[in-house]
Subunit: 281 residues, 2 copies
């Protein structure tokens, strides 16, 4: 049982981890050592205090150097779901299970909006998690909408189970090789069906499917953690970065605009202090 | 008429200035090129993302390098009062007057608490501003409570006007030289009087005076700007760093705990974006 589980390795997660470490809190930190895509891909950052005219890559290196120096470890797992237990939370990462007294969400914001039908059919033919739900589609026909090249390994996992996979990739240069994967060009427009998802409509046609996987860098927060109060795509928080759920805190882009590194780092710091105060109670 | 006046050169002020510059807002920035005393005096900072194990002095140098590189100027004046005008604010700095459409308070927090009588007799024998009120005590006897060596020039200014100055310095190594200054040892305890302040009680005795000057790094926010809503010693703000006054925003330690560099920098960033949104309306 950890005192805290931090989800996300953007500026908010980095700041939270550094401060939890300084406060001597026993935490586990989920994310990628590549940090966030947003950090990696920034061309030049002028207004982050202390780093003069850095590229995103340079900022990322500075963060990693500091994390390593502080002896902080990143657990490179994707968290697929967070479930409340008695005075704690259970985190599912594929087949692995973790427990923590508090959760600090620094998951960033998914700028790709849900398409019509996506939210409606979630859990009824629509899934965000290949590892969680892949087995349900053994021998069946599925469509996979993939937003990021980094998630391609999940497509291959699905192809090892399903009979047929239609791949709608929202990036260039797909590199998945499997005889049962058929690439489909054109933006996904809608998921249709009666009781369950039955069709993925895309620009150029309609695919008859048994299920649709939407692979995104992060699931919407209210899908990740049921009952979490949101305002649009953002997690509702107060000035101490508390959410509506006891022991759950949030920081960074996932809590709202401005989407800025300094804002995210500041909120990560505040959230870490609030976790500490909560644990001391 | 500036679009914005930023008061304070701690981490919040630095962050606000960098972001206002990036947003192309025409602003004036009041404070010291020495930045904040808190930054200068920090021994080691481990949890500010991007700067690994820096001293406060090193962080200050990084900030100054960045400010200079961005072509941002610090106006080294103390702001003594902010007064509302029609759709703008007037800022008094000694004899100088500035006008701005918005005000961003990044004044830090004064950890020295008011002594009994200080708030009660403010404007009736108690003053926070040597330049504003010194002339009222020409030829008279005053006590000066000084919290910081950096403010000693104000004591000398007062000594050039008053007949007699009792100096209660809350730091070591005072270096004021004037025949009419008498150093008094012992903490100040209370200001007493009937209609006006008449006595300063300190550990060791009672001084009969015509007035008491409390020289602090920053006046309490509600003294600086009348009508500003506070919660204890902190300025009340919402998540966008708005105060209760139209066009007035606040960021950093002055808005509450945790007193942390990352939190201050984050709030400065958010406040700058809120100023920008307000001006665009």
């Amino acid at each position: 049982m950890y005192d805290c589980a931090v989800i996300g390795t953007g500026a908010a997660g980095v700041s939270a981890a550094l401060t939890l470490k300084a406060l001597n809190v026993d935490f586990i930190w989920f994310g990628s050592r590549k940090l966030s895509k947003k950090i990696r891909s920034a061309e030049q950052i002028d207004n982050y205090p202390g780093l003069t005219e850095v590229s995103g890559a340079e900022m990322g290196e500075a963060f990693l150097r500091q994390i390593d120096r502080a002896g902080i470890k990143i657990t490179e797992h994707t968290v697929n779901g967070v479930y409340p237990a008695k005075d704690s939370y259970t985190l599912l990462c594929g087949d692995d299970v973790y427990e923590a007294k508090t959760v600090l969400l620094a998951t960033g914001v998914e700028t790709v909006k849900p398409i019509p039908g996506e939210t409606e059919f979630l859990g009824r033919g629509v899934s965000y998690c290949a590892v969680c739900d892949g087995a349900l589609y053994r021998g069946k026909t599925i469509a996979v909408v993939c937003t990021q090249k980094e998630l391609e390994h999940e497509i291959e996992f699905l192809a090892s189970l399903a009979q047929k996979v239609y791949l709608v990739a929202l990036y260039r240069d797909t590199a998945v090789n499997s005889e049962n994967i058929e690439a489909v060009r054109g933006m996904p427009l809608e998921i249709r069906g009666k009781e369950r998802a039955e069709e993925l409509v895309f620009r150029g046609g309609v695919l008859k499917v048994d299920g649709v996987f939407m692979l995104k860098s992060s699931a919407p927060p209210s899908v990740l953690l049921s009952g979490l109060k949101t305002e649009g795509v953002h997690i509702a928080v107060d000035r101490t970065m508390r959410t509506n759920l006891k022991g759950v805190f949030a920081a960074g882009d996932c809590t709202g605009k401005p989407y800025q590194y300094a804002k995210a780092a500041g909120e990560g710091n505040v959230a870490a202090h609030s976790v500490y105060a909560y644990l001391k109670q």
